[in-house]
């Protein structure tokens, strides 16, 4: 017997169940480039940027970048990576480190990243599409003084405009808002297409 005994072959992994379109971008697709970059908020220490917007028939993916001005600064966002992405409460108070983000549509509909576990389960398990927009956090990454957070917004925004809204108390970012015309998004959606591999 070898000292480094190889693992037995893996059992084939079952195909995961399809995920509803309101929870994530369609697998095997690539979205149309919207071509918008926004500085949603800027303080002396950090900037909150919205970019990498990709439109799909049923929604839009986007990236929020939390960019620290200088790695030397003591308020380096990357150090608080987990707390920035996950809402934690102490005696009912939301952690000031958690990055609050949301959208508002022209008709007043809104969605934020503050979704409780019960509400999340309800959205995930329902058979019919929700009757309000859904903003799903799709992961994050970070390095140096920067943190990137990816979101999926369902459905594709309609109406005249969409507002991006954020607040980040720990980094002294007040409620900040920026609007873009939805025309940019709806014009990009028809450019979404299947990847070559998903056409086989």
């Amino acid at each position: 017997m070898s000292f480094f005994e190889p693992n037995p072959p893996r059992e084939p992994v079952a195909q995961p169940a399809p995920v509803p379109e309101w929870l994530e971008e369609p697998r095997g697709w690539v979205g149309g480039v919207v071509g918008t970059r926004i500085a949603l908020a800027t303080t002396p220490d950090v900037a909150v940027l919205v970019h990498s917007l990709y439109a799909f028939p049923a929604g839009m993916s986007l990236t929020v970048e939390l960019r620290g001005r200088d790695e030397r600064a003591t308020r380096n966002p990357h150090r608080d990576f987990h707390k920035i992405l996950h809402a934690e409460y102490t005696e009912g108070e939301l952690s000031p480190v958690f990055f609050r983000f949301g959208i508002e549509l022209a008709d007043g509909g809104k969605a934020t990243n503050l979704v409780g576990a019960e509400e999340r389960r309800s959205i995930r398990d329902r058979d019919e599409p929700p009757n309000a927009p859904v903003l799903s956090q799709r992961g994050g990454s970070g390095s140096g003084s920067d943190v990137d957070i990816r979101y999926w917004l369902w459905p594709l925004p309609t109406g005249e405009r969409i507002s991006f809204v954020c607040e980040w108390p720990a980094f002294e970012v007040p409620i900040s808002r920026a609007d873009i015309h939805t025309t940019q998004i709806t014009e990009a959606a028809p450019r979404a297409r299947r990847l070559i591999a998903s056409m086989e």
């Binding site: 480039v33 919207v34 002396p44 001005r69 030397r72 070559i196 591999a197």
Partner: protein, 190 residues
């Protein structure tokens, strides 16, 4: 003294990349939508998704995609210059100067050399891969390249070759005026 002595905090501010090495950290950039194929076969494609212009250079955002199992089992070699799976990229300016993403590959290593960042600016242009994504994507890869500097005149030619999926040397012309105009609109964050 504790058994596990905590080392002093590093001072990351001691070193800063030269301005030609990466997109400026203090700028927002202006995105130009392209979304057009550079090369396409039945089993693979390279798409220029967009260009983000900054005051001193621009980023090319590309999508490389391939049919299932089309690249073999180690798709990460898409970003390793010595691999046949490597997606070769070059830019050429109207004055004939050019750069490729193989210029800084070490002879005996599969990674690029980071030490060039301490050197004086190259004669321009310079091309470097940004934000490599090292998690597996079995059928596609989003690739971002930083190109320094802004060409003074004429168009920019993007050249691609991808031997592993039999995409030959293919050229795409990019309007230089569009890049130059967008680069003047990149705003400072601080």
């Amino acid at each position: 003294m504790s058994y596990f002595e905590v080392p002093p905090e590093p001072d990351p501010g001691e070193w800063r990349p030269p301005e030609w090495f990466a997109a400026p950290h203090d700028e927002l950039g202006v995105e130009i939508v392209v979304d057009e194929p550079v090369a396409r076969t039945e089993t693979a494609a390279i798409t220029l998704r967009s260009i983000v212009a900054y005051s001193n250079g621009f980023e090319l955002s590309l999508l490389g995609e391939w049919a299932k199992d089309g690249l073999g089992p180690i798709e990460d070699h898409v970003v390793h210059p010595h691999s046949e799976q490597f997606l070769r990229i070059a830019v050429e300016y109207a004055d004939g100067r050019r750069a490729t993403n193989m210029d800084y590959a070490l002879p005996d290593d599969s990674d690029s050399d980071d030490d060039e960042s301490d050197e004086a600016p190259p004669d321009a242009p310079y091309i470097g891969q940004q934000h490599p994504q090292f998690f597996n994507r079995t059928t596609h890869r989003e690739l971002t390249y930083w190109v320094w500097s802004i060409p003074a005149g004429g168009d920019v030619t993007l050249i691609c070759e991808w031997p592993a999926v039999t995409i030959p040397v293919t050229r795409m012309s990019i309007d230089g005026d569009t890049i130059r105009e967008a680069s003047t609109r990149s705003r400072k964050l601080w």
